[in-house]
């Protein structure tokens, strides 16, 4: 067991060191998020990074009323996947937009981050899903 952990640890350590400052960009599992929990919060968009492999949205939000808004970080799938499963575009939101996000929070609950399930643009009521397992059929329009 110790040998197995050692070799996996060495594998991770190599990836960490080889990545330099970046721990690093990659296609990664989502298991650091708690799939047993689902949370919804409303807030103002700070920034969306429309990047591969994972788009991120930073929002200023209060998890509960009375709480001062803090920055939450939503992570989701690639721009290509979002276009397919949720009708997203690069300009779907801009800084300052009021949105509501539903997400699976990070297991480390105090870290204020989540795996996005869907986003609602409050000005129009339009909902943008973000589940890569949706729309698994050909000929989508």
């Amino acid at each position: 067991m110790r040998q197995v952990l050692k070799s996996i640890g060495a594998f991770i350590a190599f990836a960490f060191v080889a990545g330099g400052i970046s721990q690093s960009a990659a296609h990664h599992s989502a298991s650091m998020f708690d799939f047993a929990k689902k949370q919804t919060i409303r807030g103002k968009v700070v920034e969306m990074r429309w990047v591969n492999p994972h788009v991120t949205i930073t929002i200023n939000a209060s998890a509960s009323s009375g709480e001062a808004p803090v920055e939450w970080l939503m992570e989701t799938t690639s721009p290509g996947n979002l276009t397919r499963v949720g009708g997203w575009r690069r300009d779907v939101i801009k800084p300052g937009d009021e949105i509501e996000v539903t997400f699976h929070p990070l297991r480390e609950a105090d870290k204020k981050s989540g795996l996005l399930r869907e986003m609602k643009l409050l000005s129009t009521g339009e909902v943008f899903p973000a589940n890569i397992r949706d729309q698994e059929k050909p000929g989508l329009e």
């Binding site: 996996i8 594998f11 990659a26 990664h28 599992s29 920034e47 990074r49 290509g80 397992r133 698994e136």
Partner: protein, 281 residues
């Protein structure tokens, strides 16, 4: 005197005659270069006879998920122990980052666990597969009748040669880097450790469904060849055209510096790959 002179002259002639062969024995024999012939008009016309694999192909991720349980690779004992540990770590919320540094998922793991679209191009003597999320997903399959090279020159996607059997492309790939993982998910996979050999039969299963029937031989980590079919479904709507995606931008954010220059600045990531903080504007 005379005979000595003749003997000397004869010896000299022999030596001079031998010089070219001595020189040849020391210098390596030069192979004539292989030149890829330019395609003919017929070669281009022949492409029209191939099945239509145009469009954008999305992987069926729910099937990838299902096969983790229904069709696991026949791992050998040492590999099975490591794989079990990786599943446990993932379940505990600490998924191993097997695809780090924006390196390719490589062959065959790109086919096995990708979450991103791909497209397939036909040109004379070649089938080329291009994946979304930048040029680190690129397979060149040579269909010009060549064999595998004599000298080993391992790469992430290996050396692939293919031929058509009716509407099925049969592909043989060898010379994959031993570091390339054999993955069943984004958090579970092991380096193949060399000598991996992949045979594929790629064909349409329906009008807009592509199957890649893989047979994966990895003697250092599997007890026997592993067979699996991976499913892709086609999109033609222009909005789903594959757009440039550079994996390393996942580590970066666009900012304007004090000089007014648009630059990339690093974000913070966890050891498992998720973004943890983005620097303020």
């Amino acid at each position: 005197m005379k005979s000595a002179t003749i003997g000397f002259a004869a010896a000299a002639v022999i030596v001079v005659a031998m010089v070219p062969s001595i020189a040849c024995a020391q210098a390596p024999k030069k192979e004539p270069p292989v030149i890829n012939p330019p395609p003919t008009a017929q070669d281009w016309a022949d492409l029209a006879e191939l099945p239509d694999w145009s469009g954008v192909w999305n992987p069926k991720i729910t099937d990838q998920d299902a096969q983790v349980k229904t069709n696991p690779p026949p791992w050998n004992e040492a590999a099975a122990r490591k794989v079990a540990q990786m599943f446990a770590e993932e379940k505990a919320g600490r998924p191993t980052l097997i695809f780090a540094n924006c390196l390719p998922e490589a062959h065959p793991s790109w086919m096995l666990v990708t979450h991103n679209a791909m497209e397939i191009l036909f040109t004379p003597g070649r089938v080329t597969m291009l994946g979304e999320s930048d040029g680190n997903r690129l397979r060149r399959i040579y269909t010009d009748g060549r064999g595998h090279p004599q000298n080993s020159d391992p790469t992430f996607h290996g050396h692939s040669i293919g031929h058509w059997e009716g509407d099925t492309l049969v592909v043989d790939t060898v010379d994959i880097l031993p570091e390339a993982p054999l993955a069943v998910s984004e958090a579970v996979g092991l380096p193949n450790n060399g000598d991996m050999h992949v045979i594929e039969r790629i064909h349409l299963a329906d009008k807009d469904i592509l199957h890649d029937d893989l047979e994966i031989i990895a003697p250092h980590i599997l007890t026997k060849p592993w067979k699996t079919t991976r499913i892709f479904f086609r999109q033609r709507a222009r909005k789903f055209d594959i757009f440039e995606g550079v994996c390393a931008t996942g580590d970066l954010v666009e900012r304007v510096n004090a000089d007014g220059d648009h630059v990339f600045v690093p974000v913070q990531k966890s050891e498992w790959g998720n973004t943890t903080a983005v620097p303020a504007k």
